[in-house]
Symmetry: C2
Subunit: 346 residues, 2 copies
């Protein structure tokens, strides 16, 4: 919120679209063997042999998915890549290429676009992804970002949403809810800043939460980890809309029910203290928060010993028959129905 306003600002109108695209593509040399032709022609060309291509697509819109008053453009570029490739991680494949189209209104300068793409660059390097295409156009009001991510994989490696079995265990990576609380902190500080622009907030107690909101990480490491543990998930999805929403997706896709245990939910200590400060129930946040970009998956009961005690993986429940319902078992031992908006007393 406090930034140097005396930086060079070049109106985008000074560059033609071709100049802007050439400028962007310079920063993205192709690294993956399957990236054959990148930015600059009508289409990107990817090469495979006897593998499947996986493609995902997301749309990010200013005012809906992000707020530029506290989201630095570099972080937004990074997050765009993460959001794009997270769906591929959720298929148990390694993301290899990404295409990003942006539409900007004339309030954006060349430096702003550079800032955005510097974040894209950082994430591409971090996650081993090539930017191979996209375009730039103008928008009426804010910034609009469309991202397509691509991977190649053998059919046997791909993990779908719909293939969980009745006795499978439910496992989540990392911790959940922090990105949501990070957003609450940022929204509060925005209000404070609007009331008094000279106020210098102390965000130290919230650094982890804010980082989870502004600079989430895609779990590209989980595929490798599971290979090392010799575990193949039976079904998988990423936690973008909130844990309950994703659990219900897995249940619905396989026509199953589930039990999720409140006491098992992996919460960061910062999340717990921040929830106390905001007087919000941390379980509600963990179940419904969203934007964690962690992975939720099911494994066979017989694989339990392989994942037990791994600091990256938390067993939060198990699948049951559809007739047994979808329930949260609270710390008090009572059952409440899991619904799309969290949980309601059953």
């Amino acid at each position: 919120m406090l930034e140097d306003k005396n930086q060079p600002r070049t109106p985008l109108a000074q560059l033609c679209e071709f100049g802007l695209i050439a400028r962007i593509s310079e920063g993205f040399p192709l690294k993956n063997g399957s990236s054959k032709l990148g930015i600059g022609d009508d289409a990107a060309v990817l090469q495979q042999s006897e593998e499947n291509t996986l493609i995902t697509k997301e749309l990010l819109i200013e005012g809906v998915h992000f707020d530029l008053s506290f989201m630095p453009l570099k972080h937004l570029g990074y997050k765009t890549v993460v959001v794009g490739i997270s769906d591929l991680c959720a298929m148990n494949v390694k993301p290899e290429q990404i295409l990003i189209s942006i539409a900007v209104s004339n309030r954006f300068t060349l430096e702003a676009i550079d800032e955005f793409y510097s974040g894209v660059q950082l994430a591409c390097a971090r996650f081993g992804v090539d930017l191979v295409g996209g375009d730039t156009s103008s928008s009426v009001t804010g910034l609009i970002i469309a991202v397509t991510a691509v991977a190649q994989a053998k059919e046997s490696e791909v993990v779908l949403r719909s293939t969980a079995k009745e006795t499978d265990l439910l496992v989540v990576t990392g911790d959940i809810g922090a990105a949501y609380m990070g957003l609450q902190v940022l929204e509060r500080e925005k209000q404070v800043f609007l009331a008094n622009p000279n106020n210098q907030p102390d965000l130290t107690p919230y650094t982890y939460l804010i980082e989870r909101q502004l600079k989430p990480e895609a779990r590209t490491d989980i595929k490798t980890l599971l290979e090392q543990l010799e575990v193949k998930p039976t079904a998988m999805i990423d936690v973008s809309d909130g844990l309950v929403s994703e659990v219900l997706h897995l249940c619905r896709a396989a026509d199953l029910g589930c039990r999720v245990y409140e006491e098992k939910l992996p919460l960061d200590p910062q999340l717990i203290s921040c929830c106390e400060e905001f007087n919000i129930d941390s379980t509600t946040v963990a179940l419904n928060g969203g934007e964690d970009y962690e992975l939720l998956f099911t494994i066979s009961l017989s694989d339990f010993d392989k994942i037990k005690g791994n600091p990256n993986l938390t067993l939060i429940g198990h699948m049951v028959s559809a007739a047994s319902g979808k329930e949260l078992i609270t710390r008090a031992g009572t059952s409440v129905a899991l619904t799309a908006r969290g949980f309601t007393a059953s």
Copy 2:
């Protein structure tokens, strides 16, 4: 502009995103062999063997790329597919899959979304393309559409922008400029309608122009035509931003110059009479119009006899060395430099 306002209107809030996506995917059974997994999981899965995958990406924004006051949503759905796959036609490959993400504000109803996807469906059937993915989200103001199109092709079939040779001939498909004049007619009628909503315009003299604007066609037929003629283009691009812009792209990508002949430009008779009525120079329109979605390509001089006289193909000029410049030869025989905004006296 005159429509029955008494149709059922279902607010989108009545459906969850899952319901909306399920509703959309029902209308799109997969037809191409390479479409392995469509809408419903985190990613679409496409299968190839020893072929390259080609991917393109476009963003369409209300108020920038389309005006819903005269663009029916069904036509917009159709045009979305055309815009998406046209770039693949320009690589000389057959489009096979498409992913569409849309963001809508709450002024859109379920019926409006159905209308949009009925156009998508029509175009998918017409051009033999499978809808395999995408998502829906909300927007702050208008309608935003992101489209990704995918094709598989042998490397030897793909035609790039950058591979034109110095003596190659410049060929364009169909006719050009009509989509632009269609837009001018629609913009004029919108103003008339706003001034007097009871006015019933006679659009008969402009039917072809309006159809070119509202329901353009992708030239998926050209690949087959060129195979039958045994001609492989040396370079190719689609005419989306206007002929001159595309000619300059081909020149720049191959470091060449060109000669384009004004008298050779393929103009529809309706375009000529409409330009007279609007008092606009038809050559300017043909050179800069845009949104024609025709193909512009270069062929070897030795292939001239194969394309000569074909009603789908018009020879409009030829490539020259970069040092010889990029020029339009007017009907009067004078040379003017081609620039991104059309042509200026050299």
